[in-house]
Symmetry: C2
Subunit: 192 residues, 2 copies
């Protein structure tokens, strides 16, 4: 529900009545079935989604048709193809619902316009982006320096609520390993 | 020189005389010898650097002592340990000069304070962070879906000026491959 988003923003900054009204005016609540695609690779992208229930992921397909998962999103996370949004290019990612899900949908340009209308969002969003940069730097470093098993442990620690919604190949394609490797790691962990 | 930074900012936004004076007041120009370390893993980090000449890199060491390069920086790029800066934690990265280099050094807190003093920097920095997020998303996707040879080609295309300053193991540790693999790729390319 939209109140989830309002609460999340208000946990970081005071929100004026006008700003709240504006968010209500540009937001659209959507309930989606498992398997629904919100963004398709190759299409233009003008939507950003705030997740209020369920689990979604963004992924790309390589030239051999293999999927690579960039991001999972559960309650209180944002998801879109931010490469496409920030560069005005066509989608290189697909965003799909891994479960029945509820999202708040925004037109990306309208959402971006909030910074001009309510400049207090500038600093708020800058700090969000800083945190996002930190998580991406960490992900790159972890991908380079950790073993597959260490990356899986970290995934479970950082995203304890995601595994229940996902299939083996979703997680394997996020960790950059084969499903066979993931199964071996799981068997080994179950024995310990 | 400091003028390089001013030009770079002015290519994106108008800069008031007061803002320019403030940047001059908080900036410190430094000339550094090849091999100098600007940030050391495990230490506290309170500096951010804008490169005006030379080539630097940030890297971490894994538990086996192997280096992994997160970033290179040449003229007009910023470098620091942004994980440490944005989270207030100790450095997980080391930043070293790969060549004799010149940088503009800022105290990170003073630099951050510019957003409060001159709010026009909010939107400027938000857009910089958006572009940075795009490049990190692309790097993660490329690391997952491209072959080592494709990643090397992309590296040469995106950073044509870096190879001349770096050694084999710097680039290999950025691409996430062994030096032997990089050598094989180079031999193969030289034959074609």
């Amino acid at each position: 529900m939209l109140e989830d988003l309002i609460s999340k923003i208000e946990s970081q900054m005071p929100l004026s009545i006008d700003a709240k009204k504006h968010i209500f005016a540009i937001a659209r609540e959507r309930d989606l079935k498992k398997g629904s695609l919100l963004i398709r690779e190759g299409n233009s992208v003008n939507k950003t989604f705030f997740v209020t229930a369920g689990c979604l992921r963004s992924y790309c397909l390589d030239k051999n048709g293999k999927e690579h998962t960039l991001q999972f999103a559960i309650k209180n996370w944002w998801i879109s193809d931010f490469i496409a949004i920030y560069t005005n290019e066509l989608a290189t990612l697909t965003v799909e619902c891994l479960t029945d899900s509820s999202v708040i949908e925004f037109n990306a340009k309208e959402l971006d316009g909030i910074h001009k209308l309510f400049p207090e969002f500038e600093s708020f969003q800058r700090h969000n982006l800083e945190r996002h940069v930190v998580s991406l730097h960490r992900r790159i470093l972890n991908q380079m320096q950790l073993t597959a098993e260490e990356r899986y442990d970290l995934f479970l620690e950082q995203y304890p609520d995601i595994e229940q919604h996902t299939r083996n190949y979703h997680i394997a394609s996020y960790l950059g390993i084969t499903q066979q490797s993931l199964s071996r790691i799981r068997v080994k962990k179950a024995k310990n």
